[in-house]
Amino acid sequence: MPSLSHVIEVFFDTYDIFLKGMLLTLQVTAVSILIAIFIGLFFAFLKISGVRVLEWIANAYIYLVRGTPLIVQIFIFYFGMTNLNISAFWSVALGLAFHNGAYIAEIFRGTIQSIDKGQMEAGRSLGMSRVLTMRRIILPQAFRRALPPLGNQFIIGLKDSSLAAFIGMYELFNVATTKGANDFDNMTYLLIVAVYYLFLVYLISALVGLLEKKLSVSD
């Protein structure tokens, strides 16, 4: 094991390159999660649509994502997309979005269905349409309930973005392994990159916690 003072020294010597990697990690995570939320909502609606074909499509999608390793999905997106002239960044972002979308779909489906059916009835009894009641009454409540598991999924998404290293994207994990190999000092760089990830996970938890608190005024 490297000594603590050595790790700290290297940490401060290399922060500029790690910060660049961190920025890329954050970007690819943020973009993929944003897309995944829309994908998730879309498939959650398919699943609760009551239309058998649509439910089947959603189930097939979720089954595919759950049934194959993320690294395989990212490689398929990467090699599939190179023909379309799409950058490594976007193939990773879309691969991660495709992957997280399935889990987020299940989160939204669960929380939408957990809202008391009296809420829909109350909306309808006031003359609100099904869509309007969904948008104004059900979804805000479902989204609030979804926040803790969504936060979890964001954290998983962040950590999974390290797989982008395998298609050569120079994000956090790639920075660490490259530097470690060059300096014959793998352990030091792995410990350092772990600290960066811990910080990012803390950041996400704090942000989600803040949002939860803000939305809890009605409790």
Partner: protein
């Protein structure tokens, strides 16, 4: 009591799977009538009420609202429901919205009236139900009786012609029942047409113009409260009432 017909129900039938819940139900509600539906659990009274604003869709028979027969297939039910307010046993307030937001939600987003106008009207309604000081409070901070009074105000905000009440006091602690019944009584005195599913025989006796006793999905007996409570014609009504009092 000889106002125009607000609701006519003719030969209404409704089943849930194999369970035949409403059997050839006929009922007429005239303007400003207060009709109380009484009967044991499972007698079909709540289902009948829910058919009246199409939360349940009838299997066959006719539902005529203010002279027009309404069918789920040919009518915009969202429009029909605006004329028929409903109050639920479990209040069903929107928990993520405060009291005033609950009340203005439908007027603003369904009727499209301005927010300021909706708030003005909502405040009047809150005053009427005795909750003028609660407009910024969230439902979780209200007692059951207060929640139900907000729910009544929310339904009234759409200016309905008819109000349906589905066991409005059944989920309340006993000491809170009175305030809700008082609000309903006031509404009845103002001439609101009301159909009330209730176990509160005192309310039915005092406020109802007509009491309808249901059993096994059928209407067994209809009469003025004094007739039903003092001198029921049907044996089954007598039996039910003797168990209730």
């Amino acid at each position: 009591m000889d106002g125009r017909d607000m609701i006519n129900v003719k030969k209404l039938n409704k089943s849930f799977g194999d369970l035949h819940v409403l059997k050839d139900v006929d009922i007429t509600v005239k303007e400003s009538d207060v009709v109380c539906l009484i009967g044991a659990s499972g007698s079909g009274k709540s289902t009948l009420l829910r058919c009246l604003n199409f939360l349940e869709i009838k299997d066959n028979g006719q539902i005529i609202v203010e002279g027009e027969e309404i069918n789920a297939e040919s009518h915009d039910l969202n429009e029909v429901r605006q004329k028929i307010g409903m109050v639920f046993q479990h209040f069903n307030l929107f928990p993520h919205k405060n009291v005033i937001e609950n009340i203005i939600e439908a007027p603003v987003h369904v009727k499209g009236i301005s927010r300021s106008q909706a708030i003005k009207e909502a405040r009047e309604l809150l005053g009427k139900v005795g909750l003028a000081d609660k407009e910024k409070v969230y439902p979780s901070k209200l007692s059951g009786g207060q929640k139900q009074r907000v729910a009544i105000a929310r339904a009234l905000a759409m200016k309905p012609d008819i109000m349906l009440f589905d066991e409005p006091t059944s989920a309340l602690d006993p000491e809170l029942v009175g305030e809700v019944l008082a609000t309903m009584k006031e509404l009845a005195e103002e001439g609101m047409t009301m159909v009330v599913v209730t176990h509160e025989m005192g309310f039915a006796r005092e406020v109802a113009d007509w009491v309808v006793y249901m059993h096994g999905g059928r209407i067994v007996e209809v009469g003025h409260p004094e007739e039903i409570f003092e001198n029921p014609v049907e044996e089954r009504t007598r039996e039910f009432l003797s168990k209730t009092f």
